[in-house]
Amino acid sequence: TVGAVAVDSEGNIACATSSGGILNKMEGRVGDTPCIGSGGYADNRMGAVSTTGHGEAIMKVTLARLILFHMEQGQSVEAASDLGLAYMKSRVSGLGGVVTVDPQGHWATCFTSQQMAWAAAQKDTLHYGLYTGEHFTQSI
């Protein structure tokens, strides 16, 4: 799965997620990616999320919308993302990862799986990482 979230200079927010699904899936199996609120969600008033991981688990908790609910309650992008992923892990034993952004341009990349390749571009700086805790930067 691959995905992106963005906020443009006018404050408009969008998300995109695309996936080949899970390995050796049954023919016709559809995962979380095309399901609004699970594979992704975007609302100028709250932010945007793009998700990846075990699709059946992501759908059970509607992970993208769940994280934005936490942000509506005042949680930061990081805390909301961690809360959503933690619920998915404890409730349905699913692992995954998300990229999240809010209308002010705060962003977070969180994952409970072993790795997630991510990158962010903001104020002419490129941020990126792969393993838990990694956060490298370089000038764009």
């Binding site: 799965t1 200079s9 899970i22 095309p34 100028n44 699913g94 990862g97 571009a121």
Partner: protein, 166 residues
Amino acid sequence: MLPVVVVHGGAGQIPKEWSEKSTSGVCSAARAGYRILQGGGSSMDAVVEAATQLENNPSFNAGCGSVLNVKGEVEMDAIVMDGKTLATGAVSAVRNIANPIQLARLVMDKTSHACLTAEGASQFARSMGVPEVPQESLITEYSRMRWKKNLAPDANPVECQIGKMG
């Protein structure tokens, strides 16, 4: 703080020998999205461009490089959503197209529906002039190797995405 774009290349177990390709792939996708934002493009343009780059990169499970279903075929899913209007477009179980994310955007822009699936999505793609590509062009040696390896009866392809309790 604006503009900003954040991308991911999928969560799971990434083999060590793929670390470099994965990281460079997401970095170049983020740069591409940021270039669009800096040029005054919309956030929708930026996320579609970033996702398109990753679909075209065989190191990622989307577009070219997608994992195979149990029959050894490629079926892909994609979604876009616009935060200003809450408009959305998605395709599911779509075959033989290079960039499902661009087809998802066409569903959002050109239809009154939220999602088109399988043969319906393919017919819509044809009506929009989206070129059909041979399935072979979407399959990599690596994805075929993993498919074969996971045909074994006791294989668990999603092992790295199921949380071990405790």
